[in-house]
Amino acid sequence: MDTRREATVWIGGEAGEGIASAGDMFMRTAARLGLGAFAHNSYQSVIRGGEVLLQIRAGPHPVPSQGGNWDFLIALNQSVLDLNLRSARPAAGALFNVDTIKAPASTTVAMLGIPVGELTGDLPKNPVQQNTVLLGALMYLLKLAWDVFEGAIRIQFGKRKAELADLNVTLAHRGWEFAEKNFTAPRHIALAGDGKGRIVITGNQAVGLGAVAGGCKFYSAYPMTPASSIMHWLAPRASRYGMLMKQAEDELAAINMAIGAGYAGIRAMVGTSGGGFALMTEAIGMAGMIEAPVVAVLSQRGGPSTGLATKTEQGDLFQALGASQGEYPKAILAALDPVDTYYVTIEAHNLAEKYQMPVILMLDLYLSERNVVVDPESINPRVPVERGEVVREVEGEYLRYRDTPSGVSPRTLPGTPGGMHIAPSDAHNEQGVLVSDWYTNPSMRTKMMQKRMRKMEGVLHDTEERGIVCEGPEESELTIVGWGSTFHILEEARRALTHEGHPVRLLQFRTLWPFPAQKALPLLQAAKRIVCVENNYGGLLARLIRQETGFSIPLAVRKFDGEPFSIDPLTQALKACLSPDAPPVQTLVSSELDLPVTFR
């Protein structure tokens, strides 16, 4: 068999068995060797005991998605081994501890059992030692450099204790040596990087990094998966950068605090998922009315209600569009990947301050928690920061809500002499005097509504160009339409089909509101066949496109089982769209497997 340069590795077990740290060590090793890698963690909302399956794909940089079936499986319990055998690629190998797990009688998968107890009997007892031993064996089989792997182990554990790092290095080395002596196959994969040191980052870390680089000084949130890791990343770092990370009593407080901070003159942001966002919406409308800048990160998970708490979905588009009562200026942006998330976070703050309005940044679990290797140079610290029009010295009469051609009224910050005003959530005139329950003034109401909404012309101008990423030639057999986090996997599928002789185009939406209709319509009309691919039930982007352009996309590929698209079934579904008798809606489901043994 020819040597392959790419591997898909699954690590499965129960939550709390150290799967995340094994994954981190793998990712860090890959990054330091100059490989590309992409990890998606499929887990349950239980701190200990839920099933976890970490899917990692590594190979030449960049790696576009978590891949499909596995080449190597590290099984930390019996059911993980039994249930995942059917997802093995040809020539795959499964690593497991023979002390606790039995190899099935007949399988084509190489059974790579390791006697962990025997190998580590002389070492201090460590509850998660088996995964380090198994990881050591895996790294040998993938022909990775021991010294780089050792460095990754030391970083992983050195933070806590030097002895713990030494212990884990020894554990990994016992696994490595055992594999060297006992396993002659599978050895058909050799992961070789280009030697360029890269970094590993998640979507949520990129939000944090963008916040710090873009001058966000206030982040408030209430814990909610999959947004919480933004809070976790910022909490120990914020004070270094003149920033405050505030855990609030609920999402109502979080958003209202952020609006207060934005009003007082600092860049402010909140992060939550759909349920928390629902609580925030009244205040988001207030930010529109009082014209205060605020950025809300909405990292979607499966809904409705508590839904799939630890699973991905793109089901909140209409919630974002319809957030709060009434009409007010706002922008809704989506990000494609962690690097893009870094820039979009900063862009969101620029728009929020320039137009004095709320900006919603839409992510989802698949992007927020995705761990990828990226080039550090792709994240540029020199970013444009636009603070909007702020009056520092007031001369003459100051009108906070002055009716201007752009709709933007230069604002004063509290503390500025002569700039005093009131910012009311009631309808108001240019001074901030209410035109609601004190006296009604239909013409003033009309004028002020028009003033606020006029800002959307500028917002559209600023967000239209970025709104759609277009890949592939205009002359294509099929045009794929998607939004946000699915970009790279759709692009991977597009390339695969193109490689097979079917030229395909991809239109990926990054701006969802104001909808870039003028840019979208000609692209949509140029398509021969067209399919919209979304991680939701209802085809929400397709509906928005029809609403804003009148263009109906006849085909759909959808997935709302909580797992992200997987490359092989996705490519097959898109291939089916090439045929004139393609089904109008194809619903993909990740696995035929039902419950894990322990839950049956």
Partner: protein, 287 residues
Amino acid sequence: MTTAAEYKSRMRQTWCPGCGDYGVLNGLLNACAALGIERHDLVVVSGIGCSSDLPHFMSAYGIHTLHGRALPVAQGIKMANKNLTVVITGGDGDGYGIGAGHFLHALRRNLDLTYIVMDNRIYGLTTGQASPTSDKGHKTKSTPAGNPECALNPLALAIVGGATFVGRGFSGEPVHLSEVIRRGLAHKGFSLVDVFSPCVTWNKVNTYDWYRPRVVKLETEGHDPADRNAAIRQALREDGKLPIGVIYETDEPTFAEEEPSLQGEPLVNSRIGLTDEEWNALIGEFR
């Protein structure tokens, strides 16, 4: 030196003639003047309700926020710029009903804020429904058979909730009220000033005449505001008397003093952008 009148805006005050809120506004104007607060450094934040119109009648910065959300907005302002004097004004429905959750957490957070609640024991702006401080048995539009729920005790709640200043005033005692508000503003930490502010239109039970024989000034009883147990006894008084004055005051570190991010300059003055050194260190964490 700014006079009390100069803290007043040109806006016509829209409360009903005789409303207790006039007394609260005047008390606040006097307290601001007594403390010499610069108008442009003062932010008055309110929620929704009759009393939440108050910021419009002042010449200062103000936000008239959502129903029940004045406290978090005010806290955001204070966290962003700790040099500002931030006062929150609202009613009992706003603060003890829809905003009750924020009230409890504002107490224990102890930011240096002053929260003035104009408590009229009724929903006024929505034309007379029961409020969280309506007495049991009170007949209102929403409780025609008499309120089946007992009244919330904001003073007791505040003291046990971690407030570092709890005071109460009465609109019918304007000089005394100004002084309670002044002491609340001067206090370092979260101050609750609960004010009996009668609604002359919708509450025909808890009127000025109802309050007058019941209120008792704590100063005349030798109450020691530093004594937490004595304060709780005052808040839970069962002799039919309603204590007014400073009930509890203690000196505890404020949120700004405890929070690492708020040491030094206010956040609003903090530098935007990172040095190369800072950036490289940050990126290095991902290697």
